[in-house]
Symmetry: C2
Subunit: 361 residues, 2 copies
Amino acid sequence: MQREPQAFDRVLSSMCTEPHPVAREAAERFLATNPGDPGTYPTVAALEDDAIAILGEIAGLEDPAGYVASGGTEANIQAVRIARERAEAKRPNVVMPESAHFSFQKAADVLGVDLRIVPVDEQYRADLEAVRASVDSDTALVVGVAGTTEYGRVDPIPALAEIAHSADAMCHVDAAWGGFVLPFTDYDWHFGHADIDSMAIDPHKMGQAAVPAGGLLVRDESLLDELAVDTPYLESTSQATLTGTRSGAGVASAVAAMEELWPGGYRSQYARSQNNAEWLADALEKRGYSVVDPTLPLVAATLPRSTFDALRAKGWRISRTATGELRIVCMPHVTREMLASFIGDLDQLEVRASVPVVSDD
Amino acid sequence: MQREPQAFDRVLSSMCTEPHPVAREAAERFLATNPGDPGTYPTVAALEDDAIAILGEIAGLEDPAGYVASGGTEANIQAVRIARERAEAKRPNVVMPESAHFSFQKAADVLGVDLRIVPVDEQYRADLEAVRASVDSDTALVVGVAGTTEYGRVDPIPALAEIAHSADAMCHVDAAWGGFVLPFTDYDWHFGHADIDSMAIDPHKMGQAAVPAGGLLVRDESLLDELAVDTPYLESTSQATLTGTRSGAGVASAVAAMEELWPGGYRSQYARSQNNAEWLADALEKRGYSVVDPTLPLVAATLPRSTFDALRAKGWRISRTATGELRIVCMPHVTREMLASFIGDLDQLEVRASVPVVSDD
């Protein structure tokens, strides 16, 4: 095999990152284990308990229950599935802001529930009036996002939980990306702040674990029963995951990263990432681009499509929001030097664009 | 982290195995990539095309289409999902033999389809008369298994495909475990042998790749459209997988293992595993146990529960079929020496059981 993996030195678009060295080491050691078969692989099954314990601590959840999923998509699908199973409606619906991740669209397709997508306010957060107006007796779940994919915004989680419960619906928080930075902010986002029922929180994003290490947390362990199927030939009684065989590497690396970095390491990483985001936002603004205030370490700014394409042609891995803005995620591997080099390339393009083209150029 | 991964020297129950050294090396190199985001990680996305090309060759599929899934469970769920989307019935049903994997139960739960479970014949293969009697105009999918989880049996795939298509249903083959041994047998099991529509075939089982590396193959690429959701902010247009972020390690290790081992390495591994299974079956039969003939490298035998428990207490990772038989999977890491040591422990237990208990014992 001649192909070499992508280097991270120009990756500005990913919500994944280079695993922390201790996470990589643990992933390599546990590469050949399967937490989906705890009777055969008891050590990694015990590690999964450790992972859920630390995730619970991070997310303000006493007596935490849940499992290490393949990622935020699986955790979101499973949360919708729990709500569907609990609902009495013939055709349950899920109410969520338009800022929610497309995995909820996948969940709705797979699970046969209706999605009611409500607008966001001028701060890109779920519009509470719209949520209230959309919830009805068929609503199984209200979704709030703690760290949106496009602008890093945090929905008003306590109010969403209240609306959900007033309609006998459940409340799920998608903190897949935000969960490892929000503990160092003033936001109300977790089980300790609001009466939420479930959460997606991914060690393999800001948690610096190796892929695949997502997290599903539930307030009440009995919620996992909604997901369980009997597992003959495995020496365990049931399986609540969406996948069967799972990666022991993901589980072990999640534990290693969280034991190493929670809370001090994550706190300093948050500070570094947030500073970088603010520096980048500032640099873009100074150059006349319209920038969405980076309230978490994620920067969005308007940029002409031709400039975007030229930067991609220079090897920068950048992405766009649904409305076409440049979107840069300040993950742990994104350094100030990378951002300065990116801005340098942008400046060079702009200079060229402003110079009249001559035939020898 | 003090915990050490499970050694494989007593694992007789798993359908996963130690990754081949080249697969491990590739997994470690690609640990920090995400084929779920091909715009950001183009190299691993190209590797996934290589994986599907080789899987197609193994499974007799020209112009192969599909993707590297988290495992057989995801591939089976997705096959049911494709069939559900194609079906016109309001409540589609899936017809499958009772020998099919429990992931189809999970698929039915998640996707809201009915499962019609039909008996097997005296050879533990789908009973064709029962399948015919169960199929009706609401049938979306007929499932055949090529290498069952409990007894390693291969259903009559061409006949199942015929029954499926005569009812305008699709036909899916679960070769998650069998796919890397069946090419060296006389069975009719793949796209070249029968008019099947989709297949689960897992590199991370007999293919010796690292978890997670399952495989979903479809005869016609347009079938994947049934699974696609739009993916804003990713620099690719749509995503057909069930999970979002995926493990580049799994993809890279699948390609490395298959390039190294297909076909010669897999052929000799099959011969070794099959010989081991026959040796073990013979050893158990000689000791008076009733053994299911190992037509593929998987041995099932009746064994008293107390003996089973005593062997587990000695550290053997063994499992049972739904009816309680001992079940041993002769994976690549299972050597003749391991099996001889296992039989040695069994003999010791039997000697003890036949010695009258004295108070000093």
